[in-house]
């Protein structure tokens, strides 16, 4: 098991290095000067040079990259160009906001996705299965920002039940008001993962139920409830892998959903950074999100052998 963990840990390092390199290169190759957004047109050459120098943009790109990488390794993600605040100060509250939304979204997609998937898997080719499969396909196919706009039009504008946008005013404790603001964006975010999880669970359940051991359990007269638990246990490694990827997507934040709901999370932050060419903020945010994604998948990889001991052999 230790060898399994170490091997996967070693895989992570080149992936993260590659992410940092690709992220830095692509951003710097994009058209438009990163300083244009903030550079005063009438400012003296001296001032403009001084500003460029102070952000390190006067150095050749390889030098900029290695300086950035060294700073990142020491925990410094740099300084946002637009707001002149440390990238961490920008990123930390955005991560918290997105994480709150992601947890809510994951809860919805897990409950709905697994529940619907199991139901569909157990009612294969019946009306319930067809209805759930169709709903899941629609959920995956419809642009979720469009669904967000529809939800806003119904529940905020027409019915006035929920806020149309934003996050609740800061308060000392997390309360009902915070939840009210999260309902519509969380449902919107959960739409795609719910569809994917439901379809995966359905397919896995159908597959597992065909296995001989399930027939054997039936033949041995085991109650349906116990057989159901066996099916769930055998289906869980596949489902876990899918959930891990979907959770990564949710924590990464959705640029479109967070922008539609003006939710100040990482997706919104990225959109802002892209629009203003705030390269340090973009680089820092992408790197942290990519690292999170890689680590999450690492944890999923670690968890899978516990659910399916056969994997320890590989």
């Amino acid at each position: 098991m230790l060898w399994y963990v170490l091997r996967r840990l070693v895989y992570i390092l080149p992936i993260l290095f590659g992410v940092s390199l690709v992220c830095f290169s692509l951003l710097h190759l994009a058209p438009g000067d990163p300083m244009t957004a903030v550079m005063p047109e009438f400012g003296s050459e001296e001032l403009i040079e001084q500003i460029k120098r102070s952000y390190g943009f006067d150095q050749p790109l390889p030098v900029q990259y290695f300086r950035w990488l060294l700073a990142v390794l020491s925990g410094d993600l740099g300084t946002s160009i637009v707001q002149d605040r440390p990238v961490w100060n920008e990123l930390a509250p955005a991560l918290v906001n997105t994480f709150q939304l992601a947890v809510f979204g994951v809860a919805i997609s897990l409950v709905a996705g697994i529940g619907l998937g199991l139901l569909a898997g157990y009612t294969r080719r019946l009306v319930a299965d067809r209805a759930i499969t169709t709903t899941a396909i629609v959920g995956v196919s419809v642009p979720h920002y469009w669904v967000g706009l529809v939800l806003i039009a119904i529940f905020a504008v027409s019915l006035g039940w929920l806020p149309a946008m934003g996050k609740a005013p800061p308060s000392d404790a997390f309360g009902f008001d915070d939840v009210r603001y999260m309902i519509l964006p969380a449902i919107t975010l959960a739409l795609i993962p719910t569809g994917i999880i439901a379809r995966s669970v359905r397919a896995t359940v159908i597959d597992v139920r065909k296995h001989e051991f399930v027939q054997t359990l039936h033949a041995n007269g085991l109650p349906q409830r116990r057989i159901f638990l066996h099916v769930v246990k055998n289906a869980s490694p596949t489902v876990l892998a899918i959930i891990g990827i979907q959770l990564g997507h949710l924590v990464g934040g959705s640029i479109l959903v967070e922008t539609v709901f003006a939710w100040p999370g990482t997706g919104y932050l990225l959109n802002n950074a892209i629009a203003t060419r705030d390269l340090p903020l973009l680089q820092g945010t992408i790197l942290v999100l990519a690292t999170f994604f890689v680590l999450l998948n690492f944890l999923v990889d670690l968890a899978q052998p516990f659910l399916d001991p056969r994997m320890k052999r590989h």
Partner: protein, 503 residues
């Protein structure tokens, strides 16, 4: 707000005019102010923290500002000439402890002509310019804002902390700042200008870059006022019993054209033909009436309009005639390439507008191809100037512009060669008479006479068809039915203190 983040709150806001409109003018004051009380005429300059000012009759580089007495920062400390000097140091002296590169950057455009400054006494400031500059009031005057030195000291000389607990002299105090989420401002009960004491207790600023989100927030009652309503939302907002406020302001949606010999626009006949080919009235209707046809950089009621002899309007026959004289026609169209952005500050609805104009041009014999880039890339191209490699083969850029200030709007569009200001006069228009007229504006210190000279310059630039002028934005704002008292001035800035909530 249409911005995606709360503008910098320390004194010199980020976010261009919108940052200045919502933050600078709420928490802070400048020495000179805009008269934003009227909607029926372009705004003029009025005293702010300075009660009066003058230029030395012998040494025209020397300005004297006499400050208002009895003004206090939010922290209770008095505002004096020494605070003006402290704030100027904050923006220009890299070795001063209060120097802030962020504010210096945001204010650099306004401090560029300042050579030196000093406090003559507690309420008198002298500012010396590098060259005679009759437009200084539009720069240092209205655009430099004053933060409290005492608050900065109290907060450990830390601008990051100051951003959350700023202290200015303005009508509002910032009581809560949550980046990308909200800024909460409350009325400053000790505000020195009793005429502009806020008529509401609290103003909460919410960033919402997405237009649909702003509309939904307004219609659901979550906010009381939104900026930049999209044209298709106007009927819905009106149907909900809400008000849509519009007015012209110093904004122009033009094509900045290349005057390089390699461009077809180096021929004035083609520039004029393009100006005459656009059906602006129908374009404005197409935009739901949220635009007004342009006849130049500024609207005809503006004091800088002057009396141009070239009438910018829709006359396709005249356009065809001019193109014919230049050797082009419908069967032999002049080919031009225009770079535009899909969105951006003040860009209105660039794609459908450009496609509309593309049809107009085709009708007279101009074949316009469009290249779309994102807003910051377009900004980079404008700043680089037409001669830069990244603008190779481009004959014009579609770039919405502010004509709020004389140098930005008019004077900067004429200077060339060594005098050219980076990013201005994108197309390298080079004309000795225009330069002479521009210099005369800078050399004029009487406000009315300066307006007249700017009118002369404007007339000349229109007669030379230096750009292709299309429309002025009407800056639509949506207001909930209980929002009263808002007057939409013909300005990039607005006075929100007059707003009353009557539920």
């Amino acid at each position: 707000m249409t911005l995606s983040d709360i503008p910098v709150t320390t004194g010199q806001a980020s976010g261009g005019a919108e940052g200045g409109r919502f933050l600078n003018r709420s928490v802070y004051n400048a020495m000179v102010d805009w008269d934003l009380s009227r909607a029926d005429r372009p705004s003029s300059l009025i005293p702010g923290l300075a009660e009066s000012w003058s230029v030395d009759s012998k040494d025209r580089n020397l300005w004297t500002f006499r400050l208002r007495r009895g003004v206090k920062f939010h922290d209770g400390s008095p505002f004096t000439a020494h605070d003006v000097v402290w704030n100027f140091d904050k923006l220009t002296k890299t070795d001063s402890p209060q120097y802030d590169r962020l504010q210096a950057r945001n204010a650099a455009n306004w401090m560029v002509s300042v050579d030196s400054y000093r406090a003559v006494d507690d309420y008198t400031v002298e500012v010396r310019t590098k060259k005679p500059n009759g437009t200084l009031l539009y720069e240092v005057g209205v655009n430099v804002f004053y933060s409290s030195p005492r608050q900065w000291e109290t907060l450990g000389r830390d601008w990051q902390k100051f951003a959350s607990e700023p202290s200015g002299t303005g009508p509002y105090e910032l009581v809560r700042l949550v980046p990308r989420n909200r800024a909460e401002l409350v009325r400053n009960p000790d505000y020195w200008n009793k005429d502009m004491m806020p008529k509401h207790d609290r103003m909460v600023l919410r960033p919402m870059p997405d237009a649909n989100t702003r509309v939904s927030a307004l219609l659901s009652g979550q906010v009381d006022l939104v900026e930049a309503l999209p044209p298709d939302a106007v009927p819905r907002v009106k149907a909900a019993g809400m008000r849509v406020s519009t007015n012209v302001y110093p904004h122009i949606w033009p094509y900045m054209v290349s005057h390089l010999p390699s461009s077809p626009f180096s021929d004035i006949r083609i520039r004029k033909a393009a100006n005459l080919a656009i059906d602006r009235e129908n374009l404005a209707k197409f935009l739901g009436g949220l635009a007004t046809p342009a006849q130049g950089f500024v609207t005809p009621n503006h004091p800088w309009f002057g009396k141009p002899s070239f009438k910018v309007g829709y006359d396709p026959d005249a356009a065809r005639k001019l193109l014919g004289e230049a050797g082009f026609g419908k069967n032999n169209p002049v080919k031009i390439k225009v770079t535009m952005s899909a969105a951006g500050s003040g860009q209105m609805q660039p794609l459908p507008m450009n496609e509309f104009i593309q049809e107009n041009f085709r009708d007279v014999g101009i074949d316009m191809s469009l290249e779309t880039v994102d807003w910051e890339a377009l900004r980079s191209r404008r700043l680089a100037g037409v001669e830069a490699d990244l603008n190779k083969g481009v004959d014009a850029i579609n770039y919405a512009y502010s004509i709020q200030y004389p140098v930005f709007g008019l004077i900067g569009q004429t200077y060339h060669g060594q005098n050219r200001v980076k990013g201005y006069n994108w197309g390298h228009f080079a004309d000795a008479k225009a330069d002479q007229l521009a210099r005369a504006c800078l050399d004029e210190f009487d406000a009315d006479e300066q307006d007249r000279r700017l009118g002369e310059l404007h007339s000349y630039l229109v007669d030379q068809a230096v750009w292709i002028w299309v429309v002025h934005d009407m800056n639509p704002r949506g207001l909930a039915s209980h929002v009263k008292g808002f007057v939409q001035a013909q300005n990039w800035f607005q006075d929100f203190t007059r707003i009353r909530i009557e539920k």
